[in-house]
Symmetry: C2
Subunit: 399 residues, 2 copies
């Protein structure tokens, strides 16, 4: 009997580039080595008490399905939230999703067919690859460079990549993994391109509040491309509520909303508990983000300063999110990150980083770069940077 | 400028056949008519207090991502649960999903490619159509008949439907929408077919505990097809916890588990709150299901008796789940169900049913059938049946 076959899609589905190092981290911990996790975007910031309390003090008797688009009360609350960041919406323009992940999947599924192409400035959030494989869509990367701090590639780079199969551009602003914050001018450049070529603009705005130099200019604020813009959002990072799995797909495109609703109905509803949390989060005091942002900013300042003080290391100052990309004097970031866990320790400690290769669509790029998530406090960042500094002194395959 | 196009997939995606009547129900309520909802599988049974309390009394500080396969503690607890129903598993054979819905999607995505065919005995759970469209898969229905109480179609019907593109058979046991409980012999017939033709057997076992005449024989208990069987599960109906959005994909096929994990990692993790609920549910007292089952059984007995007492109505006695299919003396179930909401009332009350047409893959079938979910208490079922009885007396398009 021939073996039951896995689908081609299943075989093409990329393994998580970040999680492949996990066994090495576990082995290090078993040896008694403390591992500083700068590799993933799981913040250590406490979820606001009143957000968790809203769930803990809930008093319903039946854990029912919610509306497929999310509770009406939550969507109306979200209208209030978006208004507070200068975006005017009707609650029917918001479909609550199971994390930002599902918003990306729904957007791809509803707008794109197998064989269609999406342009994404690289380096980009690695899971876009996974959702593209699920939808049968081809990711066409255009490169942004560490030397320019990962600014938006020029219009000419987009024009060169556009084919008759191109249906959309995907951005993440502020960016994961680069931390780059797109300027208003860059957003207007994107408007020009999507308008001219009749493309969707998928804008992942998970890190909206975490901007340290200036503020975010949402794709939803672009005039004249109301039907083109699909915004993906999530409460995960905003309120340190990653496990809630509550996000949103937001668009003013009525036909698209009707289509996405069909996907939303097939999976019945987003999680009920965390919708309560998300609704309570909108009522957090106005200074909530000030405190969190100040904390992230001091971490960023420290991290960037420590990195750039190391010989041969270059780290552009990220304007937002809680990630930084650094170029290291090494041969290969995959080898180096594994070596840090497998062969290195300093005072019984080491650091786990994400090799940048997983964030590039172009084979061969990112070999000297790593992503650092500043999700630890400044003392721990200092300790992690001590490890990295020592590691770079003794790493055998420097370049 | 040409309009931005919706994907073909998005256009093909079926609208929910149940939810299309919702506007008529809302209009009826606005007129002051009470609507008995027998149309959806949202039980009125209270979620067990200790299940909700586990969430309400939780004391974590950060709502973190869980493991992509679900918390290890929860998966280990699920091993205990499955053991209690006679299924031996290792916790690594369980991947916790966002509802049973995601388990179906992951199974389709990992096993099937666009153009592949899956055979499903009809009538079937309508959302299988949606997940099939998402995966680009063709659903090939083979008909089970109300006259035989919706027993498994004969082997010959399967053999006739199998083509070189057939990759899987999908069953739901006990069945939604028919309530049919497959016998051990029928399950062994399915084993013979999937073994002979090297097919996956997707088994949706959401209603495992709700069997009133005999017990469920899980597909995971079939010998010799360990690599073929993929079981989809959920806590939604079992503990009346539909809004939790916690399910599971269970298989002993190692290659498939590795593949599904890639899909699971792309969406990061299942919801954290409801995993706590699901874990607590395994510790419910042994008599929990006895009480719930007794309640459902008395509802079933009443519903089936009332239906069969109406002139021209036939309702086979369903062995499990909480659905019944009935054949009515009407021209068209879609028209009739809409008429019930739009043009009928009895003592300021009416009833909402699901037209069976949405559950058949073969065009034209189910026009005289409706699905009734017995998710209301016996008093309400009686009142709903009074409405239906009167409605059938005055409905103008009888047949």
């Amino acid at each position: 009997m021939s073996k039951l076959s896995i689908s081609n899609r299943g075989q093409e589905m990329p393994a998580s580039p970040i999680r492949k190092l996990v066994p090495y981290a576990e082995a290090a911990k078993k040896k008694g080595v403390k591992v500083y996790h700068l590799n993933i975007g799981q913040p250590d910031i406490e979820t606001p008490k009143q957000v968790l309390d809203a769930v803990r003090h809930s008093d319903f008797k039946v854990l029912e399905y919610s509306h497929s688009a999310g509770n009406e009360s939550y969507r109306k609350k979200l209208v209030q939230y978006y208004k507070s960041v200068g975006i005017e919406l009707d609650y029917n323009q918001i479909i609550v999703t199971t994390g930002g992940s599902e918003a990306i999947l729904f957007g791809f599924m509803a707008c794109l067919d197998p064989g269609d192409e999406v342009i994404i400035p690289e380096p980009f959030y690695a899971n876009y690859n996974g959702f593209a494989v699920e939808a049968g869509v081809k990711v066409v990367p255009i490169t942004s460079n560490i030397e320019s701090g990962f600014a938006l590639p020029p219009i000419s780079a987009f024009e060169k990549a556009i084919t008759p199969k191109t249906k959309a551009i995907v951005i993440c602003n502020p960016n994961n993994p680069t931390g780059y914050l797109y300027s208003k001018e860059e957003m207007e450049t994107l408007r020009t391109i999507v308008q001219k070529h009749n493309l969707y603009l998928f804008s992942d705005e998970a890190y909206r509040e975490f901007c340290y130099d200036g503020t975010q200019f949402s794709a939803l604020k672009l005039d004249g491309v109301e039907d083109n813009v699909v915004m993906m959002d999530t409460i995960s990072k905003r309120y340190s509520a990653c496990g809630g799995r509550i996000g949103a797909l937001v668009t003013r495109n009525k036909t698209l909303l009707d289509t996405v609703m069909k996907f939303a109905q097939a999976r019945l509803s987003p999680p009920s508990f965390a919708q309560i949390a998300g609704e309570a989060a909108v009522d957090l005091p106005a200074d909530y983000f000030d405190v969190t942002k100040k904390e992230y900013q001091s971490r960023r300042d420290l991290l960037v300063k420590r990195l750039n003080a190391m010989p041969g290391v270059f780290c552009p100052n990220p304007g937002g999110a809680f990630y930084a990309m650094a170029k290291l004097p090494i041969d290969d970031s995959d080898t180096f990150c594994q070596w840090l866990l497998e062969n290195f320790e300093y005072n019984k400690q080491t650091v786990m980083l994400a090799p940048a290769t997983g964030f590039y669509g172009t084979e061969g790029l990112g070999k000297q770069e790593v992503r650092l998530a500043y999700v630890l406090n400044t003392d721990e960042i200092n300790a992690a940077m001590d490890c990295l500094e020592k590691a770079l002194e003794v790493y055998p395959n420097k370049k």
